[in-house]
């Protein structure tokens, strides 16, 4: 079997050595926050103050209070600081600053998204002029087709992000109610719980209702199509919001699908122009395209750092920041550029100082498959508890090609193909669809490039696309001498696999197959199954 050189941290971690002690089974939150030494505890405290400020600034607006008491999913908003603590377990120095810089920005962005939803929502703010310029887009859709609309004239509303996606990260039980609603109406329980929960939210009438039109995308699976159908029916028939189905080819590596995909993007843009009354602006588009390229360059540089013995930016913060930047932003917001460069500077400084996240790194892992929302801190736990360094995850392995960024007649045609390419290769489609090459072969290439000896394979039990390939992965990993550690979960439903049941799969593998003892035994069993 392949082995990698063990890297030992010569520096003892400041503050407490066993963060497992801050959990208490009688509490639904942590007993206290982590002591990280004076400098890092003070830094963490200042970021906590900042988060409280962001949340307070949001809730002092009367319509936001009204929205808070109207929508069940808003309960997760109260647990944002608890959620942020999940991203910083055991972190010090640059790693702590990277986690805060990236995820604090995501939190501020999502808070603004909720404020925008409430402003236009017919039940809450009911700002009709604002709502008339809003376009609802799918949570799992790239918003490339909005890149050429001026952001002060047309507003992109990803209403499923705060309602379902972020909500489940901050409060693990928050979508269970919606899953139950969906199942009460006959949707089977073995469908992917993400679109099922979104369908449940729509059935319960718990989405904000706003916008002059909506664009949905055939995201990645039968569950997603099912959810979109239910949501679109309510949008169109009950609320009179016309909904465009952006049909994106799934075999995105086949060159002959590109022209069709580009035409679909043109059609979506025409649809938005028709309903908002605003025109596509090429200056705005190419400015956004330059930002997309800049973000791509920064992400490639981060991945190169992660290929060295001293990875810096990985795990949930890396994955969710990329999600927000690449998919939800697509170059439309200039603030992301500043954050991208700040994160890269922090990672480079961490690399130069040989900063490590744990006492030692015993293994280097590629994380493949889709991670569960409700145990979002799993990869930080894995490196702290077992010294298994997650170099990157499948959802962060996305486009590395540059798109046309100079406004010329030829590039205006190329732009449609670029938008189509980005849309086809969006986060949830890039590897789960497109054939054997992108799902299986790419994994082994990545193991080679990043010098990984383990694949941690998330097995989302409701995802038929990935579970169907189980045997192929097993067979090929064996042939290549790469350890493959299967970790089952049910994405959003903690009743199927609890947090500890998920961690126990890693514990068992590390003890029985690898014959190793944990680096930090205080983390092996954490009493957080009932915690938010």
């Amino acid at each position: 079997m392949k082995t990698v050189e063990k890297v030992v941290n010569p520096v003892k971690r400041a503050g407490e050595q066993s963060p497992g002690k801050i959990y208490n089974e009688n509490l639904k939150v942590r007993a206290r926050r982590e002591w990280r030494g004076v400098k890092d505890t003070f830094y963490d405290y200042t970021r906590w103050l900042y988060l409280i400020f962001v949340l307070a600034r949001f809730i002092v607006v009367p319509r936001n209070i009204k929205g808070f008491f109207r929508y069940r999913w808003m309960m997760s908003y109260l647990f944002v600081p608890h959620g942020m603590d999940k991203f910083t377990i055991g972190l010090r120095d640059e790693a702590l600053r990277i986690a805060h810089t990236s995820f604090n920005f995501v939190i501020a962005d999502v808070t603004q998204a909720i404020a925008n939803c409430f402003r236009g929502d017919r039940r809450v703010g009911n700002d009709k002029a604002y709502s008339g310029k809003c376009v609802i887009t799918d949570e799992n859709s790239m918003v490339t087709f909005m890149m050429g609309f001026d952001t002060d004239k047309v507003h992109t509303i990803l209403r499923e992000v705060p309602t379902m996606f972020a909500s489940n990260i901050f409060h693990q039980f928050n979508v269970m109610h919606y899953l139950d609603i969906a199942q009460q109406y006959g949707i089977p329980g073995d469908v992917c719980p993400m679109p099922e929960a979104e369908a449940g939210i729509s059935i319960e009438d718990d989405f904000c209702v706003l916008g002059c039109c909506a664009v949905q995308n055939n995201t990645t699976c039968d569950g997603s199509l099912m959810g979109n159908g239910i949501i679109a029916k309510r949008l169109e028939r009950e609320y009179g919001i016309p909904t465009y189905q952006l049909a994106t080819p799934l075999r995105h590596k086949e060159p002959d699908v590109l022209e069709y995909a580009a035409q679909e993007i043109k059609n979506a843009i025409e649809f938005v122009e028709k309903h908002t009354g605003e025109k596509w602006n090429w200056d705005t588009y190419f400015t956004a395209a330059r930002r997309v390229n800049d973000a791509t360059r920064c992400r490639i540089a981060q991945m190169e750092i992660n290929s060295t013995p001293y990875p810096q930016f990985f795990g949930a913060a890396f994955s969710l920041y990329n999600d927000t930047n690449y998919m939800g932003n697509s170059g439309r917001n200039a603030d992301f550029v500043t954050i991208d460069h700040k994160l890269l500077a922090l990672a480079q400084k961490g690399y130069e100082n040989k900063r490590m996240y744990a006492k030692e790194y015993r293994h280097r892992a590629i994380v493949w498959g889709v991670q569960p929302q409700y145990v979002i801190d799993m990869l930080y736990w894995m490196v702290q508890c077992w010294g298994v360094m997650p170099l990157t995850d499948m959802l962060s392995v996305i486009n590395t090609d540059m798109i046309a960024e100079v406004d010329t007649p030829e590039n205006r045609e190329q732009a449609y193909r670029d938008m189509a390419m980005l849309n086809m290769e969006m986060i949830m489609r890039n590897h789960t669809h497109g054939g054997f090459k992108v799902l299986v072969d790419d994994l082994w290439e990545l193991c080679e490039q990043m010098n990984a000896d383990i694949v941690m394979m998330w097995e989302h039990m409701s995802c038929k696309a990935l579970t169907g390939m189980h045997g192929q992965f097993e067979e090929q990993a064996r042939a290549r001498g790469i350890h493959i550690m299967w970790v089952s979960h049910d994405l959003c439903d903690p009743r199927v696999f609890t947090r500890q049941a998920i961690r126990d799969q890693v514990n068992s593998y590390m003890r029985t197959v690898m014959r190793e003892e944990p680096l930090d035994p205080s983390l092996e069993i954490i009493p957080d199954n009932e915690a938010y």
Binding site: V29, R32, R70, F79, P81, I181, Y185, D205, E238, Y532
Partner: protein, 55 residues
């Protein structure tokens, strides 16, 4: 001591008081413990709401 001379002391006291109170809340996770106490009441509030369920 003149009133003007007291201003920096008052400011220092206010900053120190703010730090002691907020740091205590932060370190002992009192913000989230209070939220966890509030959550069951909020759940009951949401459970009582009428919804127009439709598929």
């Amino acid at each position: 001591m003149s009133k003007i001379a007291k201003i920096p002391l008052i400011l220092l006291g206010a900053v120190l008081g703010f730090f002691v109170v907020t740091f205590t809340i932060y370190f002992f996770n009192l913000d989230m413990k209070a939220t966890a106490l509030l959550a069951p009441f909020l759940e009951k509030w949401y459970d009582r709401m009428e919804h127009n369920q439709y598929i």
